[in-house]
């Protein structure tokens, strides 16, 4: 078995009295797409910054590409690509220059930098904007360029902090499409997001954080199947429906004017409820990470 790309063991990050990351342990193997999920303030960015060697570890062990982050930041940073949450492109420079000037920080020579820059510009569909000053790019283009820039050193590990936050659906789809291409080339990718449905589609494995601690870990399929039934049924909250559910001993949750029931046999359930009463609206769908997360972090179960 090869050594892990990332190994975190009892990782802690404290800012004064605030514990942002509270003894977190996980590993990421080569070629995996690993998601770090959770609501705002859960500690995602703190973990990402420690992995990127831009924020010191308070305590615990953290190794990236087999090297401890506190001993070898330069060696690690030479082999990773980081896409931060905030746009930090150079506004005074063109698309092409943003890539070539950045390449110098990795000691890539001019000819090679130029070659890689044009290759990445093509890959991310920015050819028409090659010599445009980045001020005039759309948000989606800027994000694509930021990702392109993170690949200039051919990194073994790509780290993306909220790569699609704040973008419209079209721009988001384009970014996922490029990331999927990257993934099929065998890159190890770590990404944080609070879009659980995107993570579910894209990640091989993930951790879900809440208040600095790991709440759930595993592949999206495992996380869902271990904690929830396969299907989720939503029905209008009406007295006769509630009465029938109570009588049958079926547990449900109330969300305003909706009732939610989870079941592994949705067809059977629908047949029975339709025979017993006349629900106004009935929706059957697959359980998602979002459902698991909401259940785990505080929506209480009635009954």
């Amino acid at each position: 078995m090869t050594s892990p790309v990332i190994l975190a063991d009892g990782l802690v990050k404290r800012y004064g009295n605030l514990v942002a990351v509270d003894s977190v342990s996980f590993r990421v193997d080569e070629g995996e797409v690993f998601g770090i999920l959770g609501p705002n303030g859960a500690g995602k960015t703190s973990i990402i910054r420690m992995i990127s060697c831009t924020s010191p570890v308070t305590s615990g062990r953290l190794e990236v590409l087999g090297l401890p982050v506190d001993g070898f930041p330069r060696d690690i940073k030479a082999r990773i690509g980081v896409v931060s949450q905030e746009n930090n492109l150079d506004p005074d420079l063109s698309v092409y220059e943003n890539l070539t000037v950045f390449a110098r920080f990795f000691e890539i020579n001019r000819a090679e930098a130029s070659r890689r820059a044009d290759e990445l510009i093509g890959f991310f569909g920015l050819s028409e904007k090659r010599d445009t000053v980045i001020e005039s790019l759309s948000g989606g283009m800027k994000r694509r360029l930021t990702i392109a820039r993170a690949l200039i050193n051919r990194p073994s590990l790509v780290i993306l902090d909220e790569p699609t936050t704040g973008l419209d659906p079209q721009a988001r789809a384009l970014i996922w499409e490029r990331l999927r291409a990257l993934r099929s080339d065998g890159a190890t990718i770590i990404l944080s997001t609070h879009y659980l449905e995107e993570a579910e589609r894209f990640c091989d494995r993930l951790v879900i954080l809440d208040r600095g601690k790991i709440l759930l870990t595993g592949s999206p399929g495992e996380i869902i199947s271990e904690r929830m039934s396969r299907a989720l049924i939503e029905i209008m909250n009406e007295p006769d429906v509630r009465a029938w559910l109570d009588q049958e001993g079926i547990s449900y949750e109330v969300y305003g004017d909706l009732l939610q029931i989870t079941t592994d046999t949705p067809e059977d359930f629908v047949r029975r409820i339709v025979a017993a009463c006349t629900p106004q609206r009935l929706l059957v769908r697959n359980s998602t990470l979002e459902d698991v997360f909401l259940r785990q972090t505080g929506r209480r179960l009635i009954r």
Binding site: Y15, S52, T54, S55, P56, G71, F72, P73, R74, D75, K77, A78, V82, S84, E86, N87, N88, L89, D90, P91, D92, L93, E97, V101, F102, R104, F105, F106, E107, N153
Partner: protein, 257 residues
Amino acid sequence: MMHGPVSRRVVHVWGRNFHVFLRTWQVSFLPPIFDSLFFMLALGYGLGQFVQDIGGVDYPRFVAPAIVAIGIMNASYYETTYGSFVRMYYQKTFDALIATPVTIEEVIVGEILWGGTKAVIYTALILPILALFGVISLPGSLLLLPLGLLGGLLFGAIGLCFTAWTPSIDTLNYPSFLLITPMMVLSGTFFPLDSLPSTVQYIAFALLPLAHLVSLARALTLPSTAPFAFFSLSWLVVATGLVMLLSVRLMRRRLVV
């Protein structure tokens, strides 16, 4: 640590700023030229008409080296205060740089080095103007270029200390008008320091970097007036070293969280 915190990668940080400077060179080159032109006309020849001479030197020649020294100070100080603050706070350039093999220390030293370089560029733009007015002696005055680098490094480091301290871009105005502007008029720039009470003279030479920069600049353009040149040079060298160390410390405290 396998490697020291400051390597030749400093040059890349410097190079990034130089690259941007060249992109906007049409704008970047104008301030020092116009500043020195107006200073020379207003002070050298406007005010100068009312001044007989200062210790046997006519007023335009007396003021010319001070204009260079002020140019050196402004070039680097404003570069590493407003310029660096915009890069650090608004453009997040420093964040982008430290995600590469570049260290925070290299970013800081690179910024100061760039401040020093900008001071040299400004000096090189001001010198021909002063030469046209015939108020500096050549080729001795060309030594103002290396002096520009030394002064630029010092004021660059001073500026970066304030950048590390300032909560916002607005509060950067305080060191400008509480320190830089008073220093500009009280450093033997427009009138000789020995016309002030001796206590004030001592304070000026103990604390004001511009006083030493002016006195050295004057020693180079007016070779007859160099009593304390060696002392001033030593003062500038020591102060540059100390303030650079301080700026790295303050910046680390701000950026390493």
